[in-house]
């Protein structure tokens, strides 16, 4: 391949440990006793359950409906009965529970009706919609809904489509075996992406420690008459990071603040291309994936595993050794120890590593940073990890952002090389989550401030209304008194039977006496009105639409429920004024 490759700075070369799990072909994992299928398996909206306990489901039947555009559907991995829709432990470092559909398999593994689609006869929107409905998400680990990445930028022409078969993490071999055994379907899936995005070039990057996979992919590309380039890239962790692979193959650097499509590039994992093709050509939604079982086990191997299979049950297939003390999901550089071995396999589960102290010795004690700069040399994003470490430690989060903490991809290179054994990535995760938490708190506080200000304005308005009411009542009283007086005077004058001209003037005099008071009341009313009018638009400016909507809802509710409330509020406000 006569192609000019680019280099990314930094990177490390941990022992790859891949050969252990490459000895045998992919095997089908047997049906587990029960499947725990989490509804939230992709970035974006949490799919809503469309089944309930007791329902019979078929393999591939929809059980969770995509919620919004950035979300992907979830399907039953086999046929059987829904036992419950309830919260179960998730394969996530937090150890938190989330809503899952628990299915007891009936053993028949009976599919829904599957149809082959001719995607070339469909509009791009229909294809994207189909992929969303089939639950196709990025299987490289990020699980971003694939259909959301299949739209080219409107302003930048799509130049390169990068297909990620690098698989740079140690121990993981599922993409390698997928390319070796199912290259044709992977290439056909890439063809679908190519047709949707219309790039000038398609570049398939595979680390040069996987020559068999590269050869299989080249053969498939040739057999299908495609013009994709299969490129061996140097084995250097994290060459399989999307941004690093894009850099190596195209020379482009995608910063955290931009989408790759803004630079005319898009990147997909090989396994994603494979599932996209299965969804289109076979009508099969994503109900299983390849998982590497390795680490401290007797027989490491790759398995085709149903989503929802409990991890401890699955790992038994590889016969974990006696001193196994935990399960790592993902690779040793970016993966995590699952908090509960009963957590299910999800779409993001590419590898399970049986953990033992012998295989992954406990970290030696952390020493102070000596600013040797090894971390900065190793960082593929050219950050200054030791500076971010000082500021994270000092909880000076503003400074961490100045040093671009959100460009950190948490690849672990810095921690890997640190001679002081400082868990740098852990500090950065801490700083990031603190920054997010503070952002949320600030938003909540801002909302509360808006609501408080509105409450003050409303109370003032109600006070003004009350004053107006009282003034009106007083005026009415005065008018009534004046009328009474006039009537009495008239009666008197008729009784006195005199041709005096004075009596008719009397009511006029009374009126004149009342005049300044009336004028003052009218002026007060006008002022109150003006104030109300001046206040109301300001209030609308302050509140954004959601808050405004909330306020009007509250007001409406209050009006319906308790018409006296505003009166009592006004009274209390007045009392307040009096005590003041």
């Amino acid at each position: 391949m006569l192609m000019n490759l680019f280099k990314f700075k930094g990177g490390v070369k941990p022992p790859t440990n891949k050969t252990q799990s490459l000895g045998l072909p992919i095997a089908q994992a047997p049906l587990p006793t029960r499947l725990i299928v989490p509804l939230h398996q992709s970035i974006g909206g949490m799919p809503r359950p469309v089944v309930q306990a007791g329902d019979k489901v078929l393999k591939g039947q929809l059980i969770g409906k995509a919620d919004g555009w950035v979300s992907a559907a979830v399907h039953a991995p086999t046929s059987g009965t829904v036992l419950e829709v309830a919260a179960h432990v998730q394969p996530h470092p937090s150890g938190l529970d989330a809503l899952c559909v628990v299915i007891e398999p009936d053993g028949k593994d009976e599919w829904i009706e599957r149809t082959t689609l001719d995607y070339k006869a469909m509009t791009p929107e229909q294809v994207r919609e189909h992929l969303q409905q089939s639950g196709v998400v990025g299987l490289g680990g990020a699980v971003f809904p694939t259909h959301g990445k299949l739209t080219a930028s409107k302003t930048v022409p799509m130049e390169e489509l990068v297909i990620n078969g690098a698989e740079c993490e140690p121990y993981i071999t599922c993409d390698d075996l997928l390319m070796r055994e199912r290259a044709e379907e992977v290439v056909r899936g890439i063809g679908v992406f190519r047709d949707l995005l219309q790039p000038k070039k398609v570049l398939i990057g595979i680390e040069d420690n996987k020559p068999e996979a590269a050869a299989a992919m080249r053969a498939a590309v040739d057999a299908l008459g495609e013009s994709f380039s299969v490129i061996s890239v140097p084995t250097l962790y994290p060459a399989g990071g999307a941004k690093q692979l894009i850099r190596v193959l195209t020379g482009k650097e995608v910063p955290a603040s931009k989408r790759s499509t803004d630079l005319g590039v898009q990147c997909f994992n090989v396994a994603t291309a494979y599932t996209a093709w299965r969804a289109i050509a076979h009508g099969e939604p994503v109900v299983s994936r390849l998982v590497t079982l390795t680490g401290n086990v007797e027989s490491p191997r790759n398995y085709e595993v149903l989503i929802g299979t409990p991890m401890d049950e699955l790992l038994q297939l590889a016969q974990p050794k006696a001193d196994t003390d935990g399960i790592l999901m993902g690779g040793p550089m970016m993966g995590f120890l699952v908090p509960d071995p009963k957590a299910p396999v999800v779409k993001a589960t590419n590898c399970l590593i049986a953990h033992s102290a012998a295989l992954f010795p406990p970290k030696p004690e952390e020493m102070p940073c000596i600013r040797c700069g090894a971390c900065a040399t190793a960082c593929p994003h050219e950050l200054q990890p030791f500076e971010m470490y000082w500021f994270s430690r000092a909880k000076n989060f503003g400074k961490t952002q100045e040093y671009h903490i959100f460009d950190c991809i948490e690849c672990g290179c810095c921690s890997f090389v640190c001679p002081s054994r400082i868990p740098l990535v852990q500090y950065f995760r801490f700083a990031k989550s603190e920054i997010w938490a503070r952002e949320r708190e600030k938003n909540a506080a801002d909302g509360a401030k808006v609501r408080f200000e509105f409450k003050q304005i409303r109370e003032e308005r109600e006070k003004a209304e009350k004053a107006e009411k009282l003034a009106k009542a007083a005026a009415a009283q005065a008018a009534k008194k004046a009328a009474e007086a006039a009537a009495a005077a008239q009666a008197e004058s008729t009784a006195g039977d005199a041709g005096d001209t004075k009596p008719p003037a009397q009511p006029v005099a009374v009126d004149a006496e009342n005049d300044p008071k009336k004028a003052a009341i009218a002026a007060a009313m006008a002022r109150a009105k003006a104030q109300r009018e001046a206040v109301q638009p300001k209030n609308i400016e302050v509140a954004d639409s959601s808050v405004q909507k909330e306020i009007s809802e509250i007001d409406a509710r209050r009006a319906v429920l308790d018409p006296a409330a505003s009166d009592s509020a006004a009274t209390s406000a007045q009392n307040q004024e009096k005590t003041d």
Partner: protein, 338 residues
């Protein structure tokens, strides 16, 4: 079992870094011993002992784990740099004062390993040359007795004719000769007429400096240090000394003489490269190295001290945080291409 990734670690440690720095000093120590006898070994032992005792005391007072920090090798590096920059026949208490000051004041009072803003060994050198200028300027002549007992006697305070054995360093004596000559003296005459000058710098000592260069290159090859600081240091000294030499060769020594005299090579590869007190960004390291090289030349040629490495490095330590702040490299995806 620890909770977060990465679960794999490279086989690296602070003590390994520090011990490799010590190992890189061994060639120079060997040449030193061959030239001037076992005195340097004695001084290394005195300094190491004093450093470890001071370190242990401070760790105890500060409530830090003794085992972890005593074995990190950082005190040893400081001690060795002090022993190698002090005159080999200096009295034992001078080395002890320097070392104890370095460890307690310059290192631990600022927070210990990784926290010191100044290079501890250079603080020790500066303190001692200011406080004991005569003792710090007396270097043994090459013809001295190599007997262990004789050198032990000198170091431990029974002077047996130290004055006849010691004199100014080559750099210092060149400067004095030029000053005495009052403009009429020529550098080449001084160098050929005086016994202490050798093939290209100070006789004998030029090979010690060459051994520092060798050890430094090994450190670079081992990736313990990067090329930036040594090359900038040597480059700037070469440029300035070269320019002045071309301008007036009768008054200024040639660049090779300067690079292989005094602490030039030790400073370029072992002292200015201290990561804790130096710059960390690539451009910052270049500025730091160049600044240290220039200042060292200016101080040793125009200043009042025999050599300028210690003050040059300390002055640059002072500037390091600002240089780092102003030379932050652009990150991935944010290199200005427009």
């Amino acid at each position: 079992m620890f909770s977060t990734s990465p679960y794999l670690l490279k086989d690296a440690s602070v003590s390994r870094v520090m011990l490799q720095v010590c190992a890189a000093l061994l060639p120079a120590i060997a040449v030193f011993t061959w030239l001037l006898g076992p005195a340097i070994i004695i001084q290394l032992l005195i300094a190491s002992l004093a450093a470890l005792l001071a370190e242990g005391l401070m760790l105890k007072i500060r409530g830090k784990p003794l085992n972890m920090f005593l074995t990190d090798g950082s005190a040893l590096v400081t001690a060795w740099l002090i022993a190698l920059t002090f005159p080999p026949l200096a009295p034992w208490w001078l080395v002890v004062i320097g070392t104890v000051f370095a460890i307690i004041i310059a290192k631990h009072l600022y927070g210990g390993l990784g926290q010191n803003p100044f290079n501890p060994a250079m603080v020790a050198f500066a303190v001692c040359i200011v406080s004991f200028p005569a003792l710090m300027s007396q270097w043994p002549n090459l013809g001295i007795s190599h007997s262990l007992s004789g050198q032990l006697n000198i170091i431990f305070g029974f002077p047996a004719g130290i004055d006849s054995m010691a004199g100014a360093t080559p750099l210092d004596s060149l400067k004095t000769a030029l000053k005495l000559g009052d403009g009429s003296a020529h550098v080449s005459e001084i160098i050929t007429n005086k016994e202490i000058f050798g093939a290209f710098a100070g006789r004998g000592l030029e090979w010690v400096t060459a051994a520092y260069l060798l050890g430094g290159l090994w450190l670079w090859q081992r990736k313990i240090i990067s090329w930036h600081i040594p090359s900038a240091f040597i480059g700037s000294m070469l440029l300035l000394s070269g320019a002045l030499w071309i301008y007036n060769p009768s008054h200024f020594a040639d660049p090779i003489f300067h690079l292989f005299s005094g602490g030039a090579m030790l400073g370029a590869f072992f002292i200015a490269t201290d990561p804790v007190s130096g710059c960390t960004t690539p451009r910052g390291k270049l500025i730091f190295g160049a600044g240290a090289g220039l200042l060292a030349y200016i101080i040793r040629v125009f200043g009042g001290y025999p050599d300028g490495i210690a003050f040059a490095v300390l002055l640059m330590n002072l500037c390091a945080p600002l240089i780092d702040l102003l030379t932050q490299p652009p990150i991935f995806g944010m290199k200005d291409k427009s």
